[in-house]
Amino acid sequence: MSSSGIQHEASYLEYKGKYTGLLGWIFSTDHKRIGLLYLYSMTVMFLVGVVLGLMMRFELLAPGKTVMDAQAYNATFTVHGVIMIFMVVIPGLPAVFGNFFLPLMIGARDVAFPRLNLLSWWFYVAGVMLVLSALLFGPGTPDTGWTFYAPYSFRTGTNLLPAIFGAFVLGFSSILTGLNFLVTIHRLRCPGMKWTKLPLFVWTLYGTAWIQLLATPVVGITLVLIALERLFAVGIFDPALGGDPILYQHLFWIYSHPAVYVMILPALGVISEIIPTFSQKHIFGYKAIIASTMAIAFVGYLVWGHHMFTAGMSGTAQYYFSLLTFLVAVPSAIKVFNWISTMYKGSINVQTPFLWAVSFIFVFMIGGLSGLVLGALAANIYVHDTAFVVAHFHYIVFGGTGFAFFGAIHYWYPKIFGRMYDKSWANIGWVVFFIGFLTLYTPMFYLGLMGMPRRYYDYLSEFHGGNILATVGSWLLATGLIIIIANLIRSARKGEIVERNPWNSKTLEWVVPSPPPVENFDEIPVLGEQDGPYNY
């Protein structure tokens, strides 16, 4: 591996191009700056979503109306869902860390289409603005849930059109990012970077990009149809005109289930980077992890029906969807085995990213196993649309993608900013957050099994205890979040300056100076026979 890090070259943070100041960022085609643009805009949206979530938990502190009525609660969970799904977890890891590290990890100077990359960020911002305009103006905040189910989505009097259009534009942004990554991975790998030498995070981005590309158009056209239904009453999903609302559910989930894998696959990739680095050991079963990544991407495309077991579907279809759902669990389990085996006899260095990774495995396993409960036909009928589903979903998406996101930011932080965060505060933040997370979502499993339905602002007094616990958990989680974010913000300016490779990792992004220079590599690196991303 050759690299000549010439120190005098300006880092991407200090670089002054045609524009300066804020314009130098929002018109920059540098993949690193775009990655940070995504990071900042996404963090803002994430915090908005968190506040809405806290408000919902506060409403559920006691039975009956606490702070909001039914309509306000419906609007709150709708907006919470739309923001968190479409603006945070779907773009999340690929848009932030994919943009920043994909070119660095494959030894390229930028992505294949830098201007298209900037355009996708602009689309992202436009989509966010559109959705927010639905909240601020018009006859009322959307109250359909993030799924926009027909026929309610074209009967409700609330201001749904901008929200739908916003989701469409966000989808377009996602497609362009996926397209860009696919071409980048195919065309811009440095000499010697064979497919079997790609870092696993890049492999998961590759699988994710295919899903983004092949699934997002489906939801795009489906949302357009809902909009046309509202505007012109075309009748496609309207039972009064002969349309079939169940068909809407199929089309919606054909996208939205693979979208769950858009959320989780890059998270699995991040964990596959963190574990070998902090075990100082070659990843166990490199090819098995790649195969399981592609298997998840492929099978994940075919399991959408398990969202609709109670919606009216033929028994045969139900069996197939249930079986396929169980099949998806296999590659996920393979990954867990590989991570554990990587740690075995490794030289483990317990740092903050490693703590996030290990706690990821813990919550991901609980989330995954509870998914099997939902994938089994008989059990599903019992817990469908209860708090159990909410718990499962948040264990996977918040516990999975969210934990991986925090792991990733703590892992790559020294590379992004050239400074180290305060490690003890980072660990304290993790402990508080982790305990808060478990306290918040674990009671929901029990509440769901006891029969508490989701999406209600009110509940029977039997469910009071569990709900108090969950709400207290939400406060703990928020406290942890404040500690983590404050620590990261403070350290970006005041943190200790670090070497280019503080974790002694073997992937290419650690070869360049921290923060990386504008052009990443002075000379494009060349991988020799013995070089590899995990050769410790």
Partner: protein, 206 residues
Amino acid sequence: MEQVKQIVHEHYDPEASKIGMWLFIFTELLLFGILFVIYSVYRYMNHDAFHLAAEELDTYVGAVNTVILLISSMTIAMSTTSLQKKKTKETLILCGVTLVLGIVFLVNKYVEWGGKFDHGIFPGSEYLVANFSQGEILFFGLYFIMTGLHALHIIIGLILIVTVMWRVYAGKVHAGRPVLLENSGLYWHLVDIIWIFLFPLFYLII
């Protein structure tokens, strides 16, 4: 050594642009593919009604439009070849012919839609709900959505062709850098092939 490197490397990779365009075409195919799925489902559920409704459409206009699009696909393909042969003027003329054919297609479409509107056949019309069965309403709903979306793609294609013509004229697209023209041609073929499926589904199968 205070010289800060400011020039970002110029990066030109026609192969990448082509892969990118093909991937984009996949997404377009899926976009329309879902509409074809919806069409099949509803055709299966309302077989007789779709048969009745299809007779309202003018096969003659549809056939003329098919021929127009096929010829335009040929002219845009020919323009790519003439660009390779460095015949700039010929390239511009062939692109121009494609442009005109695309506009003629849209005019035909406008006249056809207008006729339907005059007869009270359009989404949400009371006449439609009062005089037609649910299956027929679905047929016309799909007809307007699918041909409408297709027409939108024709318009995007026309804008692309105008852009390419401008770039060819300005010398930015030439035999050494033909990718923009080639990709626009690909897009135009995509629009064409979608019509090749729309035409029989709405006009011919009865």
